[in-house]
Symmetry: none
Subunit: 206 residues, 4 copies
DNA sequence: AATGAATGAGGATTCATTCAT
DNA sequence: GATGAATGAATCCTCATTCAT
């Protein structure tokens, strides 16, 4: 039997590539740089990833996948919409915001190869349901028409990602906590809801 | 006397570069591509711009400069803060949003060479004053602490830019109009103000 | 295991580069010229040498190193100073003078990258000791003050190299033998010594 | 009538080029660099010199010409050979050695275009006569056969130039004075002559 | 599977010279 | 004559990928 492809090595490559792509840019980091960073021969990179593109794609897919499945899990596992929101806002978003490297790559030229827009569509769809739920429960007329809700979501999501990115990568002085606070406050105002942190703590994290 | 450096040629190079950088990415567009696109010999590109970096820098500087001076002009030329806001929201932002190429470059790796964060700081400072003015006039307690205002502004600004970019460049289906509507509505809600389009129309555009 | 870096290829590149740099000049010979001369793709040149500069440096280092270690070996392996001189003058110098390509490069712009002056200092130091030894043994008052000895050595060394170079590369009609004869005679006169060729033949060459 | 070619401008170009070629190398200094250094438009350089090559050639020709005509003048104007030698050694050589820039260019790749070897032949011929004269007058059997005299002269001449160059341009620590002293001493020893400085002072300099 | 040398098209940039003005 | 923009071949070097070992 031939040796198995080594999962640890694959992970190591992805980790190093994530850092490199984030700091140097997709084009700024060469496969040789990556080989050096991982102390692996160039050839090996190609036994784990078909191409440089495939590598970014994998990084984005994994990062996004984790974020997205956390989100989906929460939405299905939890019943009360305000708890869903609280978990998103106190656990899932902060987790994503921690990962500046992923964010940077997500917003970079490398994302060209990863279909960011479809991911956003899926996200939008998921949240749209949550919003509907909330509106129904609270007997609210939706503050925005559906189309604006989509714009609102994209704007908030991309806006926070980009703000986090610029803060951490380019020295813009805005603490991630301020961004999160603003997002929470906006949600609370929009849905006239109270997002108590304890709501999020109630459920065990995945 | 020899031929004068041709302003039209310089502009043509910038225009072509803007399009190329936006569609192919800063690294994806080579100077040879640009030469072909402008029907100019490579060498000529370098009589007008010291380097590829200098070229993006010029594009960003020019685009941002126009946007920013429009903004600054409005803020000094107009007295009533709600009119300032209306002009920003009905004239200046739409103008900026029209220029997807600029937006794309602004958010790309090319911006690495253009100090985007300083530009954002300047923008933030300008708007912060406007917000204070508004709050004072309306006798409102500020809805957010100062720090969150900064986060809020960055988030809204970057978020709309990025949403516009993805809509127009990557097929995310969100009309620019929805984005603008959402921004207006948010402002109206935040400041309990009414941003009638006619307020903006009142003043002659620059 | 992948192919090993091929020492023969490295040597072939150096040999071809040596010839090219000597005949065309460091700037006159392009890396493409070298690729053509070696029937190797340009890229391969760079798997063996980091840059064009590194390539000249290697050539100079190797050539000088061989010359210098021959010299140093002789000085330590042999006891009698007149035998040392004889070996230098009948074996080591002629060997160096044979290598016009090396000499040409040594005296060219390429040497800018190779610290010729430090090499000369080292050479001077080595010979200075020999001269002292000789003077002491022969009970001679040194003909020159120390400082002039340094000037004398540099002048003789650089002068012979340059004369050899111009003879062989530019058609100046001075046989290498004449240059060597003159150097020998000068030494014999200076130290009132007799440099019989047989003294040099006595020792086995390295 | 058209404006005359401006001699001052031509001289200024040559002076600046001399400095640039010496410090940056012939290839290292571009015509644009030269234009900047002279505050002259590139085009003007070409109204005074047909090409970059022609420019080095002119620099070498002028520098060498001055040196050589000084030498020739002395040899014809003065009768006693020891005075000739004294003038050469106390006035002409020091003058040449002062001009490191010229020396550097003379020994550089730029000299490729200037026929250095013919110049050396001419110099050799001139000095050979002087040597013969001396030998005859002093009733000496020539210390060297004619061929070695040629080698000796080339070696001394090129050697001192190269030593001066490396001292002043590359930090080799040998004062020009030491070089000159050594040359004088060598001549005095060779021809059993006394080169009193006052011999040189006797004649008015050109 | 592992390795890392090999490849050569393509990258940004320079530069001597020309020539329209 | 003076000017300096125009030119495009040529410069050094990089890099994703392949493939012999």
């Amino acid at each position: 039997m031939a040796r198995e492809k080594d999962g640890g090595k694959r992970a190591a490559i992805m980790a190093a590539a994530k850092k490199l792509f984030a700091t140097e840019g997709f084009h700024g980091a060469s496969m040789s740089d990556l080989a050096r960073a991982t102390s692996l021969p160039v050839g090996s990179l190609y036994t784990y990833f078909e191409s440089k593109e495939a590598l970014v794609r994998a990084i984005i897919e994994e990062g996004w996948g984790e974020f997205f499945s956390n989100l989906a899990d929460t939405l299905t596992a939890v019943r009360r919409p305000e708890v869903k929101l609280a978990i998103i806002v106190y656990r899932i978003l902060p987790g994503l915001f921690e990962d500046v490297e992923l964010i940077t790559i997500l917003l970079s030229e490398g994302a060209r190869y990863a279909g960011l827009e479809e991911k956003l569509e899926a996200l939008t769809a998921l949240i749209a349901d949550l919003v509907l739920e909330l509106a129904r429960e609270r007997g609210m007329a939706m503050a925005f028409p559906q189309s604006q809700a989509k714009a609102a979501l994209a704007l908030y999501f991309l806006g926070s990602l980009d703000t986090v990115r610029l803060s951490k990568m380019a020295g813009l002085e805005i603490p991630t906590e301020d961004i999160l606070d603003f997002v929470r406050l906006s949600i609370e105002n929009t849905f006239r809801i109270d997002l108590d942190p304890s709501l999020a703590a109630a459920l065990p994290s995945k």
